[in-house]
Structures are given as structure tokens and as C-alpha cells.
């Protein structure tokens, strides 16, 4: 989501300079010329940051800030004061008003960008967000008053490089978030006094955390509670007892983590799809999400052969067949030669379907490679 900056200054020149400073960035700048307009715009636009002048007609910056801080919906919007008044007393007064930072006029545009960039994420236009990989470090906040649950999640995610931060109360959770915003939060709905919903609301009203994926943890049978969580806008529900493989998949989807490297690689000029031994619905989904893109990327970079390695698949069902058919279809569309390696379970399952009963599987990567280099177009 594009960040939104509200500049409140009676000088049109300053408002234009602010807009000019952020023009190269992928963000929106909205304007107001005094405190009254500023409050109105803040309520209407819910900006991620306000750049506020001090001396203005009708309502000055100090009064607007006081009203902003008294408004439950707006008080968490960070404010940077941009003022020509820099005396010691003024600076102390500004700090007491609860501003995030202040900048003294005259100012360099770079200084303004730097200060704003410390509060909100600024990205240059035309660049895309860095896509995190599944094996990148993440901070996972788990809010549950039952230490056993936190330990269970920690143990379940031990094969990742993710760090689990367990907190038992709302206050402890928000204290951690004030210091560092986690990448994802898991909040128990069984916290006392609807604490799970309190945490969620506090996160959603904070500009720093309003886009944070927050999952509700709930016992499988607490359907009403889960429905309330869904209506409140939680990112998703994680049911107890927790299936940590399913949890990993949910986190990966919520953060749009790149998991393709787990399944796809280019080896000896050939695109290789490695289907893991435990072919679960989550794995099927992850492969499915990346399949067409990875094959298209490979073709685009000059690769014209593919090997689908299903030799490790221990248990095969119709989902494996679907994957094979899907690969076949995409390869046909993109004129890619392909060969498959299969396990006994896959071979057996293939015999059950008219479309796949005659599929031929190679015994090894080398054999598949030789078959591909023999020049025959794939026929499965």
C-alpha cells in the first residue's frame, strides 16, 4: 500500500517543496493550510505521517497536535514538526507535545526525506519491494498466556531461521512492538478479557503495524470466536492444536515469501522441479503458485528443457496427477521438452487414470537428461 503523507503548512511554497521532495517516491502527499484543515484531512485520509508547521493562522500546529493526540483514532499518527522556530524552549515544548521528530526551517530536501524515511517506508517509484525468501530471517510475535503453546510453536519452527518472540500479556506484546515491529503476529483469542482482540485493535490503529499480518489462534471448536476474529479483520485463523507445517505455509502466504527455491532450480541448463516426499496440499499450493512463472522465466532466459522429479514422493494421490498434467500443459504451451522421474507410488497412481496410464518415467536425472538431449519432444 502506498504510504500517505499529510503536509500541514500555511505556506504553499513549503507544501510544494514537500510534494517535490517526495515526488520520486512511491507515496501520496496530501495538503492542508492550517490546523483546522489539517485535522479534517487527517480524519479523512488517515495518513501514515503528518509533517506539521507550528505557526499558522486559524489553528496553529501546537493546537492541532493537541487535538490530534486527544483523538483516539488519530493519536497514533506520527508527526514530524517542520518549523522555523528552533530555540531551546521551542524544541523542548515540541518534544513534550509528543512529536516523533522535528526539522528546522531552512531545511534541505534530503534531510526531510531522511527524517520521514525513519518513520515510514519510502520506496523509489518504479522499484518493487524486496521479496523475502522463506529462508530469510523473520520475527514472529506469539501472544499467548500459555507458555506451552509458545514453546510448541518455537519447536515447530526450529527448522527455519525465524525467531519466535513469546509474550504472555497484551502489555508485554505492545512493549515489544513499540521497540521492533515483528514481521507477523500470532495472537491467542483465549487471553483474559478479550486481550487477543485488544492487541489486534491496537496493532490496526498503529500506522507502523496497520499492515502487519496478524493471525488469531483459537481452539478448533471455538467457531463463534473464530467468526468474530474473521469479522474483525484478522489475517487468518490458526487452530489449536497447531499444525506447524500449515502455520509455516500460512505465514509464507501472508508475507508473500518466495518459496520457489525449495522446488525449482536450474541444473545443467535444465529447469528442475523437485517434488518433495511429503506432497501435502500446502506443497501442492506452493508449487502451483510458482509453476507457470518459473517455467516462463526459464524459457525467457533460454532454457528449453525441464525435468520433473517425483522420485521421492512417498504417497501419491490425485493431486500428484494434477501437478503432472499441469506441468505437461504449461510445457506444451511454451514448447518446452520435459521428462519425469517417478516413485513407485506415483507410477501406481498414474495407472488409475486414462490420461496418465501410459506416462513414461525415467529412472534417474542422468537418464532423463540423456533422453532430453536425444532431441525427442516430450510425450507423456
Amino acid at each position: 500500500m502506498r504510504p500517505k503523507i499529510l503536509t500541514v503548512d500555511d505556506s504553499k511554497t513549503i507544501r510544494l517543496i514537500v510534494a517535490k521532495a517526495f515526488k520520486p517516491f512511491d507515496c501520496d502527499v496530501v495538503e492542508a493550510s492550517n490546523g483546522i484543515e489539517g485535522l479534517s484531512e487527517a480524519a479523512r485520509e488517515h495518513p501514515d505521517l503528518i509533517i506539521l508547521d507550528l505557526t499558522m493562522p486559524l489553528m496553529d500546529g501546537a493546537e492541532m497536535l493537541a487535538k490530534l493526540k486527544a483523538n483516539a483514532e488519530l493519536k497514533s499518527i506520527p508527526v514530524i514538526m517542520l518549523t522555523a522556530e528552533a530555540g531551546r524552549d521551542t524544541v523542548v515544548r515540541i518534544a513534550r507535545l509528543g512529536v516523533r521528530d522535528y526539522l528546522i526551517k531552512p531545511f534541505k530536501e534530503d534531510a526531510l526525506i531522511d527524517r520521514v524515511g525513519r518513520v515510514i517506508e519510502l520506496r523509489l517509484k518504479g522499484t518493487t519491494a524486496v521479496i523475502k525468501r522463506f529462508d530469510d530471517p523473520l520475527n514472529i510475535l506469539v501472544v499467548d498466556d500459555k507458555p506451552a503453546i509458545i514453546e510448541l510453536i518455537r519447536a515447530g519452527l526450529a527448522d527455519t531461521v525465524w525467531t519466535v518472540h513469546g509474550r504472555g500479556t497484551v502489555a508485554q506484546a505492545m512493549e515489544l512492538c513499540a521497540a521492533t515491529v515483528p514481521d507477523v503476529a500470532l495472537v491467542s483469542l483465549s487471553l483474559p478479557e478479550s486481550g487477543g482482540f485488544t492487541v489486534f485493535q491496537m496493532m490496526r490503529t498503529s500506522p507502523r503495524m496497520k499492515n502487519l499480518p496478524v493471525f488469531a489462534m483459537s481452539v478448533k471448536t471455538a467457531v463463534d470466536e473464530q467468526m468474530r476474529a474473521q469479522q474483525s479483520g484478522f489475517t487468518g485463523i490458526v487452530t489449536k492444536p497447531i499444525d506447524t507445517e500449515d502455520l509455516k505455509s500460512k505465514i509464507a502466504r501472508a508475507l508473500n515469501l518466495d518459496t520457489s527455491y525449495k522446488y525449482f532450480e536450474t541444473r545443467e541448463g535444465i529447469l528442475l522441479l523437485k517434488v518433495p516426499g511429503n506432497y501435502t496440499p500446502n506443497v501442492a499450493n506452493e508449487i502451483g503458485v510458482h509453476l507457470r512463472n518459473k517455467i516462463s522465466e526459464a524459457v525467457d532466459s533460454g532454457v528449453d528443457k525441464m525435468i520433473v522429479d517425483m522420485s521421492q514422493v512417498r504417497k501419491a494421490d490425485v493431486s500428484v496427477i494434477k501437478l503432472g498434467l499441469n506441468v505437461w500443459q504449461v510445457c506444451e504451451e511454451l514448447s518446452l521438452k520435459q521428462r519425469m522421474l517417478g516413485s513407485p507410488a506415483v507410477l501406481l497412481e498414474c495407472r488409475n487414470y486414462e490420461e496418465t496410464k501410459d506416462w513414461h518415467f525415467e529412472c534417474s536425472f542422468e537418464e532423463a537428461l540423456a533422453a532430453l538431449n536425444g532431441g525427442a519432444l516430450a510425450s507423456v
Binding site: 517543496i17 517535490k20 505557526t55 493562522p57 528552533a86 531551546r88
Partner: protein, 162 residues
């Protein structure tokens, strides 16, 4: 009233023009501002408190246009009069804000007024009785920039003044 007022003004105008426009400002020898009949734009901001007064920052209208273009990153387009007025007002506000901050650090607190603009080719600024007047002349990119300060001490500012 303030022995180093000229230095305060010079530091403020250098900071504002240097930071916002990236151009140096040089001090000129004391004298009367050039009045050649050319249209001028003057920004004024008042300050009220332990020490009160008003500061005027003015230059030729053509230089004010150049300043506006520089501030807003306009290349060749001619800025509208309202835009020039606003830019001159803001430059004046920054200059006075800078001076005010230094005075505040010496215990001479005051509040600033909203900037206002005067345009014309034959105006003079005259102090009233018991008001001190200082005129500081500067040169920036070959053009004269004038800062006139009218000061009136409203309480025991002398004890703080340098």
C-alpha cells in the same frame, strides 16, 4: 538594544539562502538600499514578546521570481504573483524564525506573526519614536537583498542582550 543584531541577521540570511537555494550571500557595506524605481517585493514578519518588532526582507521583483523558481525547482516557467508572494513570505519567515531562535536562547522569548507582503516601487520603511531601526544590505547572485529590522524592547531585554 542588540549589539550583534547585524551578525544575527547575516547568519540567518546566509543559512536560509544557502540551505534552501544553495547560493552564497555576501554582506554589503552599510548604506541606503538601492531605489532605482524597479518594482520590489517585501516580506514582513513581526515578533512580539520580551523583544518586539518587525523584520522586512526585500529585493527586486525579478530577483524574487528567481528565488521562487529556485525554491520550487521551476526551470523557465514564470511563477504567478501569488506564488512569488508566498515564497518571499516564507523566506522572510525562515529568516525571522532563525533570529527568533537565537534570541530565545538568550531568554528573549517572542512569538512570530504570519508573514505579509508589500509590493511597490517607491516605498520606504520608517520607524516610530522609541523604535530602533537597522538596515542590513546583502548581495546574492548580483542582486541586492535588504533586511530591515525595527525593534522595540518591551521588557528587561537589556539584561539578556549581548
Amino acid at each position: 538594544m542588540l549589539d550583534d543584531l547585524d551578525q544575527l541577521v547575516a547568519a540567518a540570511i546566509s543559512a536560509v539562502f544557502g540551505t534552501m537555494l544553495n547560493v552564497p550571500v555576501l554582506r554589503e557595506a552599510p548604506g541606503a538600499p538601492i531605489t532605482n524605481g524597479e518594482a520590489h517585493v517585501a516580506g514582513s514578519v513581526g515578533f512580539i514578546g520580551a523583544i518586539s518588532g518587525v523584520v522586512f526582507v526585500y529585493s527586486s521583483a525579478s530577483f524574487a521570481q528567481r528565488v521562487t523558481r529556485g525554491l520550487l525547482g521551476m526551470k523557465d516557467a514564470e511563477p504567478a504573483i501569488e506564488m512569488v508572494n508566498d515564497a518571499v513570505g516564507e523566506i522572510t519567515n525562515m529568516v525571522v524564525g532563525n533570529i527568533k531562535s537565537r534570541l530565545s536562547d538568550r531568554g528573549m522569548d517572542c512569538m512570530l506573526t504570519i508573514p505579509s507582503i508589500v509590493r511597490g516601487s517607491h516605498f520606504t520603511i520608517e520607524p516610530t519614536t522609541s523604535t530602533e531601526r537597522r538596515v542590513c544590505l546583502f548581495r546574492c547572485e548580483g542582486q541586492q537583498v535588504v533586511v530591515e529590522v525595527l525593534l522595540r524592547q518591551t521588557r528587561t531585554a537589556n539584561s539578556f542582550a549581548k
